[in-house]
Symmetry: D2
Subunit: 367 residues, 4 copies
């Protein structure tokens, strides 16, 4: 079944493989009248593209985005926006090894079980490269949210045992180190850890945190399409993510109600909460506080050590992966988390435009 | 927007409030020919219904399910199955307190922000009572999976600091203690902890674990509709859940690739994995191992202590919640997790029936 | 697959069989704040219910609707509205005849081919009785449209060879004759024709026309979700409909562009069209003129003559249908056409609330 | 809202404008293992592309399709298939006339009402050129249906008053005359009629008929997603279509039940119908007979006569359309009808794979 679309109203459909002709997305349902151009989207792609630091694969992909439709005279027209990124660095090489063997930690075996065969070149559709299309589409969502005063900011909070100290928090610092940690000291420690792992032909997991500020209260649909349910789906759909939490997340297991409940209060005439254990979402609906989510990224499965596995004829074999791979997924995934969060928030804000009869009447100037 | 439906092919739409006439679900897309009756579904509802232990609200709801359509001569017909549960214990009482005030930790404020007003009686649509409809629908999914040899089993793994010991694991034990812990010793300790909290008019969070065994490899759609993304959405949509993880979950943050990768091997001619850090899902597609997920449930927000909050006129006020509330959500939610997991797995197994041309041809006896 | 839902934002899911416990609908996505009660909805059901004229089956169904959820203190809450109609006149009788034989002109054979068996009592899910749920849900859509100044009016335009004369058109007259023709003279002629057919144990087809006035220009999504495509789907989904047309409809085959094009002009400062060959829709988007559609209803397939058919064991047999059947479908279907048209128009007006960035900003008071 | 997708399981999303960089489609949900290449798809595009006869616009578009993803080693992989067609003949010209004025019979006014502005070059997204993407996607659906033994054949049945005579019917003849009429004599008469209209700077409507043979009984979902409802939506979504009918269509208005009912009988051990008034669909489900549908195409609205209209500042003005336009839409639309019909049938056949528990079990080799 079709599973390459995300969102109901702001609807993104992606395509493309790691080593095919290219990849991209159709953004359908984008409101008309938004100023957008390739340069703006490119900024986001450049944050994800390979080769930006020593912690990223040196594969040299320009990741140049082209807008093929849906924008006229510098503005979105309301019709589908086609974003295409051509692949330029598909090395012709001998894939016979991974063509026949299933890489541990990868989707190879699942793809063969599902489809009977697969495009094995660079992971095909299951390559992390697929997320470039998400970033391109997400850039548009981020721009709309920005116009509405909403900011989406993600960063790497923890690598291995090394966690940022909020006392040292500097969002700008994130752009200075190749690990996207907003704490200089932690980033330096983590860099040493990752370098050591690279020497050991190994990789590490990491934790990404994302803050979405200024979302009005009332966003999210009760029951199945809760805002947190949709965010969970959005972020868990990023390849290497194995866990997702909102607000206090897994800490709530040990918490008491008297600790976990946030009091509502009034500050300068506005409704606020004294604390934000909820992470900005209560009962699936935004409560007006900053939305806080965290995603656990597993270590890059492509490591350069010998591993035990099987081939497609069900023989037990050894595999030794070659090629160009990141020792850590998270830094390049930070902007992917932002993209997915933004698409979710925007889609649900668009869903919410008809929650009352008054809103509907107002849209048509009947109130 | 409509947000009360779950699933694409096996599609469940629920309705109902805590203190209205009743609640229930339409199950659309259920295959024809399944033997099902009210007794079978009732068993699952009885696991969730209130009053089953001292840790559950004494509200006396029979939660009797009635099948109104879609079943003929004891079998599903393929047309919508309507499941209805009438509310019988809506105490007429004075709701003026919670009608005007926003309960901390609840969706009250969000509902008013979204809809302009709300059915405040017992939480209305945002009451945990809404999950009865999920359980009724989920029972049907569970029966189909069982027919296919797939088992879904959830239980409470941890309450506060008290965790089960897998050496003592007994699934049957889960049904002996009111806390649904499959470890007698841990359950006893936890019982004391919860009793103490009840005296303190407080509540606790907990961790629920769910195992889904025997799912064939190849289930899940790459990219946005990954199996784990769909499970995350399904389980996070349960009211009190604040985090969801698969396999090693948040532990992957500290793991190395060499530790986290599971080797494929052959056992009795079958593909298996030497370990199961992946929790049965790789790249969003089932890998044939047992699927393992965990959900963090926050403490019941309805505690009987005085709390600070605001009223709908934006005055800061005190609130003291009365009524019938559980000191812990998780034990009654165990079967809800099973229901949501089952609906997800089944829906995606149904989605997968057309993944290859050969399968499609076979269905129509053309191969 | 699930096929019992209609609409994307205002989403209606129906259930129920002719001779089961009952039938009804969940209306999800209805804006909060609409005043609605059972009496209002009942008026629409009474127009459809059997036994209202000599041209309708005498089956005595009260068709009493009950609102089980989603309405509080007389207003919609924004959560799912459950509408249920119990069946009260399921005659216990010998169904062995139609249980085994496929009635010509009915879905019996298709149901067995699809599902392996079927609820044969009174046609089960494929009974026209299913449309009662549409009417109940449609009544809510009609009320919202009315609040927005939009009227939906259908009537029988032609029965056999007898067509209404627009010079005699009186919408009120429609309610005076059992055939729902808004022309007294034509209705009398048609009555004689239908009476004659009843004596001959035969039935007749008819044409229903529907006018939707005051829909603003700009409604409809280009390409696949055009307003006329959605209307066509909505109306064609009514059991007996075999054709649907908009504006000049099939007459366009013979028309020239110079005749078929409608000139735009200005009348009292407003954009109007000099003619309305388009039927209010151009390129799939409303043009501000009255929307005009027509649906061709086939003759009731349940006639009381002997007919040739087969049984489920593939023997050629004779069948003689007994029971209670209308000699003409259209008069009772008029309100069903209104319901389907209203749900479509409303759903697409709700879809249209985010067509521009300005509208989105306005909804959130950011413009 | 997003309205550029068609189908649930075999899901097609299109993009592109008449004079932008290009247009195309993502086909998501296509089963893996289908042999497909650009040459095959090109054959279908060549039937639609301009300049193939004197009755078609001379705009010289190669309409070359490129497959960007989803096909590996000559076979579909099950992942999204991206089909792109670059625009090569966007004449730079002065559009100031149609930029400000609303062309009668076109969607210009509706687009401005909906989106605030529009890409006016060649009609932008509302250009008939959009259908090239449908044809490319439809070619894939047609190939799968062909593999299953199902043929989809459309042709022009009537132009103005001139209708084909089934006694002269030759499907091959359709490819010999520029009007796609499968009757040589009728085609010659019609050619004269269209030539005369071209001299008069006018255009004509036409009727397209489509036959889909060998669809098994049991396809279609009861109630809202009936097979005819979905076909109606599919075909009505083609720009110039104003009416759609199945089987006897609008003729049923005058028919009696005794005439319209088709008897079931047995022929060589198979279930057949003595007649096919139903057009292969009963109660929304295929009955095993050939599916017959007809679509009424309005005259090309772009005629070269002076017409009355308004400009965007609401002044009444004259407009005289220039450029390259067909005097008749239908011949180039024949393959578009085939494409839409094929996508619908295939999608619903895929939906039908889980209609019974036995089918589901069989897919997983559990039966």
């Amino acid at each position: 079944m079709s599973g390459s679309s995300f969102g109901n109203i702001f609807r993104v459909t992606t395509f493309g493989e790691s080593h095919g002709a290219g990849l991209g997305a159709i953004v359908d349902g984008c409101p008309a009248g938004l100023e957008i151009d390739e340069e703006y989207i490119q900024c986001f792609l450049d944050r994800r593209k390979p080769g930006q630091s020593k912690f990223a694969t040196p594969r040299s992909e320009a990741d140049k985005v082209k807008i093929m439709s849906g924008v006229f005279e510098g503005k979105t027209t309301g019709t589908p926006i086609m974003l295409v990124i051509e692949n330029t660095s598909q090395q012709s090489k001998d894939y016979s090894d991974i063509a026949d063997k299933y890489r541990p930690g990868h989707a190879d075996y699942g793809f063969d079980a599902k489809y009977g065969f697969r495009d094995y070149r660079g992971g095909g559709r299951s390559s992390g490269r697929e997320t470039a299309a998400r970033v391109a589409a997400g850039a548009i969502a981020i721009k709309i949210l920005k116009t509405m005063g909403i900011a989406v900011q993600a960063y790497v909070k923890q690598i291995g045992d090394i966690s940022i100290d909020y006392n040292n928090f500097s969002y700008e610092e994130m752009f200075n180190n190749g690990l996207c940690m907003p704490d200089k000291e932690a980033a330096e420690k983590a860099a040493k850890y990752v370098e050591q792992l690279m020497e050991e032909k190994d990789s590490t997991g990491a934790l990404v945190e994302c803050m979405i500020s200024n979302v009005p209260a009332g966003i999210g649909e009760p029951v199945f399409d809760k805002l947190d349910a949709r965010l969970a789906s959005a972020v868990m759909s990023i390849g290497a993510v194995k866990g997702i939490e909102i607000g206090d997340g897994f800490e709530v297991v040990k918490a008491k109600g008297s600790e976990n409940n946030d009091s509502f209060c009034i500050e300068e005439g506005k409704v606020v909460k004294a604390t934000n254990h909820s992470g900005g979402i209560l009962g699936g609906i935004s409560d007006g506080s900053t939305i806080v989510l965290r995603a656990a990224f597993k270590p890059t499965p492509s490591i350069f050590q010998k591993q035990q596995t099987i081939d497609k004829d069900k023989n037990e074999v050894e595999i030794e992966i070659k090629g160009r791979h990141d020792p850590i997924v998270a830094p390049r995934a930070v902007v992917v988390v932002e993209a997915m969060a933004a698409m979710t928030i925007l889609d649900m804000m668009m869903s919410n435009t008809t929650s009352t009869l008054d809103k509907l009447m107002k849209t048509y100037d009947l109130l």
